[in-house]
């Protein structure tokens, strides 16, 4: 028998009021503004934009405030909001060669043209807590030098010129969009990249790490990592030409991977690619490693049965909102389901007991 019950409304309202109070914290401490979060918790904002799959720093900062700093909750808020926005169109592919680079490094060529530009990085810090920050320490002013002229050349192009790396064939094919059509497997590389760039950082990192530890090893070098602003250009039908509709900060990682050649390809280097909203280099490197691992089939490599080679496994578990939705729903009332399980167990037990008693009597 199914019995619908109501109730809990007052409890829920009171819980939400208390949540709001807890979010605010002690009122003798100044309240955080959305602008403060946007400008001082930038990397959290970047993660929320990347995994929320909506570039809007103000909204991401608001979501972080509302979610009390729970980034997956904040990403959930952004994902919910973005479904309310009408789709105005799509941009031309962003031209990362024209990026205004804050950072650009290569782990493969020391003397790469354009140089090794470190940018505002945590690398080479000692990871010691800085107690000056707790004591309202003054921040030193960043040093300046004459700006570097011209676009940063792409490292993989140098290898490509000599045919030492597999060429990325340019095309203007319309990519499939996982936000517009249900996922189908095999997904293909464009859809894989879309799923990875919005996938959970921890999950994609874990998958990438598994390839480094030997589960589908692909010997990556970071050929190039660049972070900076790119213009977003869109064709405007009513004007008949394209204009920049904004600019976004992105992180791009290109890996150069060992490849021994196959029946169809000569020995050459191959590529993995990562491109993520914001300054998000851990995610971009992870994405590139997983992208490369998932390309085993097109490159004629063996399927080693590694998790990172399994497209369906990776793509269907990379999304933290899908994952958390399914995971967290089990804490919501399942009284009826459980009642039936309970009755079943009781019945089996009583039957088992009855037969034991019967056996004992005989």
């Amino acid at each position: 028998m199914y019995v619908a019950v109501k109730g809990g409304e007052r409890a829920i309202d009171n819980a939400h009021d208390w949540l709001a109070e807890e979010r605010r914290g002690p009122t003798d401490v100044p309240e955080l503004s959305v602008d403060q979060i946007k400008s001082q918790m930038t990397l959290a904002v970047n993660r929320v934009m990347a995994e929320g799959s909506l570039y809007d720093p103000d909204l991401a900062a608001l979501a972080i405030k509302q979610a009390r700093g729970d980034l997956i909750e904040a990403i959930f808020l952004i994902r919910a909001y973005r479904t309310t926005l009408p789709r105005l169109g799509h941009s031309r592919p962003v031209e990362t060669d024209k990026m205004a680079c804050d950072r650009r490094i290569s782990a493969t060529f020391k003397d790469a043209p354009g140089g090794q530009v470190l940018g505002p990085t945590f690398d080479y810090t000692h990871r010691l807590l800085d107690f000056k920050l707790a004591a309202d320490g003054e921040t030193p002013e960043a040093a300046t030098a004459d700006p570097l002229q011209g676009d940063m050349p792409r490292i993989t192009e140098f290898l490509n010129r000599d045919g030492l790396i597999q060429t990325e064939e340019p095309s203007d094919e319309t990519p499939r969009d996982m936000t517009r059509e249900p996922m189908e497997y095999p997904a293909g590389r464009p859809l894989r990249l879309q799923a990875l760039t919005r996938g959970d950082e921890g999950f994609v990192l874990g998958m990438a790490y598994s390839t480094q530890r030997g589960y589908g090893r692909n010997h990556p070098f970071v050929g190039e990592l660049r972070i900076g602003k790119v213009a977003v250009e869109m064709d405007i039908p009513e004007l008949g030409f394209a204009v920049d509709i904004g600019e976004i900060t992105v992180t791009e990682c290109e890996t150069v991977n060992q490849f021994h050649g196959s029946k169809t390809e000569p020995p050459q280097f191959t590529r993995g690619y990562g491109l993520v909203f914001g300054q998000t280099e851990r995610k971009a490197i992870s994405m590139a490693l997983v992208d490369r691992a998932l390309r085993w089939e097109e490159l004629g490599e063996d399927n080693l049965g590694a998790p990172a080679q399994d497209e369906e496994f990776v793509l269907s578990h990379a999304d933290n909102i899908q994952a958390t939705g399914f995971l967290e729903h089990i804490k919501l009332p399942h009284y009826v389901d459980f009642q039936s399980e309970l009755e079943l167990v009781r019945k089996i037990r009583s039957e088992a007991q009855a037969s034991t008693l019967k056996e004992a009597a005989e």
Partner: protein, 151 residues
């Protein structure tokens, strides 16, 4: 689409500038324009999302990277000029101002609008970009080779 006439090229560059400008800066500069004529809407300001695309390997086939918020509108002045705006973010007033600037640039007041609004925005964008580029340049590594003791 690459062969634009000078008027189209100028419009492309001002619309791109307005799209990327800080809403607060345009709002601060705009009131200096006296007697902005009333406008009628061709398309009232609408907040939406544009799917941003990237290329595999930076140069290959396109894929969908994620969306960005964009506000667009179109309006017409009493004298018939049509102003368009596509600006980053969700600020409808910002989009309206951008479309008015676009429309006014097609009138006899173009020089005034250029000097009052567009020139300062261009200068500020250049300053901000070169300030960042200067900080980046200061973090460029200068390698030097240690003299080795073999000879």
């Amino acid at each position: 689409m690459s062969n634009l006439d000078p008027a189209q090229a100028a419009r492309q560059s001002r619309m791109s500038l307005l799209a990327k400008s800080e809403p607060s800066r345009l709002a601060a500069l705009f009131p200096a324009l006296a007697d902005v004529p009333a406008h009628t809407w061709l398309r009232t300001p609408e907040v939406g999302a544009v799917m941003v695309r990237g290329r595999m390997g930076g140069t290959g086939a396109p894929f969908n990277l994620g969306e960005m918020s964009v506000t667009r509108c179109a309006l017409t002045l009493p004298t018939g000029e049509v102003g368009h705006a596509y600006v980053q973010g969700r600020d409808k007033d910002h989009a309206t101002r951008a479309a008015l600037v676009d429309a006014l640039m097609q009138t006899a007041r173009a020089d005034e609008v250029q000097a009052t609004v567009l020139a300062p925005l261009t200068a500020e964008a250049t300053t901000a970009n070169s300030a960042r580029a200067a900080k980046a340049a200061a973090t460029k590594v200068e390698f030097f080779t240690m003299v080795r003791g073999e000879d």
